[in-house]
Amino acid sequence: MIFTIFKKELKDTLRDKRTLMMMLVIPTLVFPIIMAVFMSVSASFTEEAANKEVKIGYVGQKDNYVINHLDNLPESYGKKGLYAYTDSIQLKKDIHNDTLQMGIYIDAQFDKDMSNKRPAKVKVFYNATDLGMEERAKAYLETIEDLALQERYLDMELDASQLRPIETDYNNVASGKEMIGKLAGGFLPYIFIAFGFLGCMYPAIDLFTGEKERGTIETLLTTPVARWQILFGKMGVVVLSGLVAASAALLGLFLSIEVLDLVQNEELLDIIHGILNPTFILTLFLLLFPLTIFIAGIMIPIAVYAKSFKEAQSIITPLNIVIILPAMVGFFPGIELNAVTACIPVVNVVLATKELIAGTLDYGLLGLSFAVMMLIAVVAVFISYKRFDKETNVVL
């Protein structure tokens, strides 16, 4: 009987355009759209940054050491134009109103300090909200400073290598996969949870509140089928819809990488190929399965209680935040899966997925996370059953 109800509800759900949009179309398109937008925006930013002429104002002599070298820096440092100013007040004002992107103030004692081999002072002005300008200023000035340093070593007949007693070689032992997993791995489970939620939402409302609102539940309750069987048949479709939505998101990711070639970086592509293997997908679904039951289990009592589609939607939509907020924990670097976090529902799924992507998953903690999620899923199903069994909730 559960399967008969499941089959009918699935057929009914698959004919609902709104559910299909939420369950298949949007999740499949989200990764290609996000990645295409990200790639095109980042490419256009890079291109714009390379082509953009940075207007640099300066207060000081044109033949000053800094200005002279700045003027002679090759175009690989980015296009630039130099403009002489007589005072720093106007210079700062023009940076504020974006007439200039950078300002250089040469101290009056600069040449004297240079000749006396003392630190010669230069002030650099920039607007930090103009992204990348601080880095560009540092790149200019560090190059000129390095030139000056080399000249000074030569002048003083010093061996530069002798002035560097320790040569430190910094080595990152984390693999690219680990770096992506730990730093950006939270994004992936977040997307799966968000779409798992959206995938469950419309079928839950349609199959419970909708049936009540349309007046079909009464006749269903007069058939010789136990209420728990009706609940399980319907719940099966809600859970499946959530899993399909999450799978569609995964499919979208796959299409973006393998079909649409939205990732051009070979190194990154190799890392992603290393992540998206069958073990990863299976373990991910092992975690998503109880999570989706849990999501369905908290939506169904609301859908059963609500008297109209609108009411159900207005209660379930804010619930999104309750699920999504813990999922956001995955974005914070430093929070890792341990015996405590493995016991926090949703958070454990996100952290376990992060570890899974990074290839550092402790299978004992995975088991604990799975057990916690299963337990909470059973509790949610039990609450759904109690609600659905309450006659005044089921019939209007």
């Binding site: 349309r214 007046g215 007069t222 010789p224």
Partner: protein, 256 residues
């Protein structure tokens, strides 16, 4: 046969409901000590004004609601103790019954046949008979959402009768229907009677009751005001017509 003895149904009122109903009582009694018997081959009408407790009574008979106390026997099955068994013998149709708009009549009928555990041969035979009787062949494969009210009503009737129930429960079956569509229901009730089925239907329209029923009960505020045959009702009438008599009986309770 339906045998109802001392049926009672109480609902616990939430704070919100108490506020809405302007009452301090935490319990509302929808049905209070109702007893009657509906016999096979006869049509029994449960008559009462809006909010009288008709729907609650019929929902208890069809096992949607569990009674607070009292007993319900459906074709010799104790419906309170064994609701699943009782449901196999009941066909249920209300005026507000909806259908699955995204499915076709064929799919809905098959779904309910499966829920009632009907064998394939039996299903095919009954489906063909009902489709012919109700003239449903032309629209059997169309989505229900695209059908007219009359067509939908035919699908509802077919769904109600697909398991050939011994007892048929109609809760205000003609409410909201035009006379042509309501005629299908009236015909169905008569057919059920002719086939020796037990029929109970609720209504607040006296003319409809007069047209169809053999036995009747008047219910008001959850209590029985009359239980007898239609002839007995007519014989003891004090008002000039049936509707006036119904109103007189209901109003008489206000004076007590």
């Amino acid at each position: 046969m339906i045998e109802i003895t001392d049926l009672r149904k109480e609902f616990v009122l939430s704070k919100q409901q108490r506020k809405e109903l302007n009452t301090k009582d935490s319990i509302a009694t929808a049905v209070d000590g109702v007893s009657f018997t509906c016999k096979p081959g006869r049509v029994f009408s449960l008559l009462g004004p809006n909010g009288a407790g008709k729907t609650t009574t019929l929902r208890m008979i069809s096992t949607i609601f569990k009674p607070t106390s009292g007993s319900i026997k459906i074709a010799d099955v104790d419906a309170v103790a064994n609701p699943t068994e009782a449901r196999k013998k009941i066909g249920f149709l209300t005026g507000s019954t909806g259908l699955y708009a995204r499915l076709t009549p064929n799919e809905v009928i098959k779904y309910f046949a499966d829920l009632y555990g009907i064998s394939k041969d039996e299903f095919e035979e009954r489906k063909e008979r009902l489709y012919t009787l109700l003239d449903m062949h032309d629209f059997q494969g169309k989505r229900i959402g695209k059908l007219s009210t009359g067509m939908k009503q035919k699908v509802s009737i077919c769904r109600t009768m697909i398991h050939d129930p011994e007892v048929v429960v109609f809760d205000e079956p003609t409410s909201g229907l035009d006379v042509i569509t309501a005629e299908n229901i009236i015909k169905l009730i008569r057919d059920c009677k002719d086939q020796g089925k037990t029929v109970i239907f609720s209504s607040h329209i006296m003319s409809e009751v007069d047209l169809l029923c053999d036995d009747m009960a008047i219910i008001h505020k959850g209590r029985m005001l009359f239980d007898g045959t239609m002839d007995e009702f007519k014989n003891q009438m004090e008002a000039e017509n049936l509707t006036a008599e119904f109103i007189r009986i209901v109003n008489a309770t206000k004076n007590h």
